[in-house]
Symmetry: C2
Subunit: 226 residues, 2 copies
């Protein structure tokens, strides 16, 4: 469903150059739930943003389905993202001036669509956001904001979800609700899911774990257990 | 060193009222390292902001040393915070237009001061930020931004540090460096530390854990072990 080959991303030039991605080769199969782990600063968010077409590689290839992202223009990338991709940002990236509910349905609304019948209620209920939907992000706790960001990515039922540390601000029980929801979407709807996490217990929900070190993949583990 | 008594914080009115804090009674002793745990939305950040004078209670009392914060005006609160308190925000709250280093020394600079000799280098080194100091927050990974926020609170060597989920975006090893640094500051300098965390392993570094549920304290545990 998604694949990076020889993916390289360099920020800056000369002595100051930062090799955020150093020839990354990794594939995410359709209906597969992959956790990505590695030290802070090792390139995980950069890989996720490039894989989802939110950022451009310096060199190398990114494919979503049979589409090569490195040859697509901004408009084509935007349409692909809206049609196929859900993204949970590490810093949430909520719109401060609108409510939680409006934030959640925003990507669908931009394509002139609405959530499939019952899906919004289902997501809101499992994520424990009942009663918070009319509030703006600044009126929510950190973990509630994170859950709004997660709901926004899931409610469109995309074919691939990239979740960048989706449980970092949550207690274990609330985090498990989210991970259970994601697991069900993978098992029932074959939603491809790539999740960056620092929590081995969260990674244990995945089918495999890919390890990042200094901008490249340093191995993987199938069927992880915490 | 810090104490809340009957602390109540209500957002909104009537049916829409949210009781974020519901008569909280808790004390943080000088030189004590306290972890605060509880479900997402249970009032932990609200308690921390009110204890540090960043937000006002609806009713009840907050004391830092022998100063009653509820009777102080904005100017007095600002001076007290700059002199005595370090705060690590759950959302980091870095200034986007200046470098990591400038962010770190900003609170001291606002009092016309500089870090004590050698402290900045020490903090930067332990937090693994060497080589990132000239970069602006948008050029840093999520975990690097979090470490800049932590460094900013610690470099002034305040008498009390409030850290709101300081390791949520960090791998275990990087998180342990920070927790070790905080533990040393408590043991060597008697820095009072209050740390919200969702990670039991992080809480195990503290002298005691206070549990928050629905806006009040529901018990505590001394000498926690993960
Ligand atoms: N301005 C506001 N208006 C209305 N409700 C608010 C406002 N700010 C916070 N709240 C609510 O107060 C409650 C406590 O929030 P708080 O941020 O203290 O929780 P928390 O324990 O820190 O949660 P988390 O672990 O998710 O960070 C939450 O239900 C939140 O939605
Ligand atoms: N605009 C930029 N200019 C220079 N360096 C950058 C820029 N953006 C990111 N970097 C660097 O690229 C490296 C990888 O960053 P990335 O955000 O992918 O890390 P990460 O693995 O997601 O880390 P974390 O676990 O802390 O979120 C980091 O060292 C970061 O400082
Ligand atoms: Mg990241
Ligand atoms: Mg909070």
């Amino acid at each position: 469903a998604a694949r990076l080959r020889g993916a390289t991303k360099i920020y800056g030039e000369g002595d100051a150059a930062v090799h955020a991605l150093n020839g990354v080769d990794v594939a995410f199969g359709r209906g597969e739930f992959t956790a990505v782990m590695g030290p802070s600063g090792s390139g995980k968010s950069t890989m996720m943003h490039c894989a989802a077409g939110l950022d451009q590689l310096t060199s190398g290839s990114v494919r979503i389905g049979d589409r090569e992202l490195t040859t697509m223009n901004d408009r084509e990338l935007t349409l692909l993202r809206r049609a196929e991709i859900g993204f949970v940002f590490q810093a949430f990236n909520l719109i401060p001036s609108i409510s939680a509910e409006e934030n959640i349905v925003m990507p669908l609304a931009m394509s002139g669509e609405r959530p499939r019948h019952g899906v919004l209620e289902d997501v809101v209920s499992v994520l424990g956001l009942d009663g918070r939907l009319s509030h703006r992000p600044s009126e929510l706790s950190g973990g509630q904001q994170q859950r709004v960001a997660v709901a926004r990515a899931l409610v469109a039922e995309p074919s691939i979800v990239f979740a960048d540390e989706p449980t970092g601000n949550l207690d274990t029980r609330t985090g498990d609700e989210i991970l259970g929801f994601i697991r069900r979407a993978v098992d029932e709807r074959h939603q491809t899911t790539v999740m960056v996490t620092h929590d081995p217990a969260a990674a244990a929900w995945a089918d495999r774990v890919v390890f990042f070190v200094d901008g490249s993949v340093h191995g993987e583990l199938r069927n992880p257990t915490a």
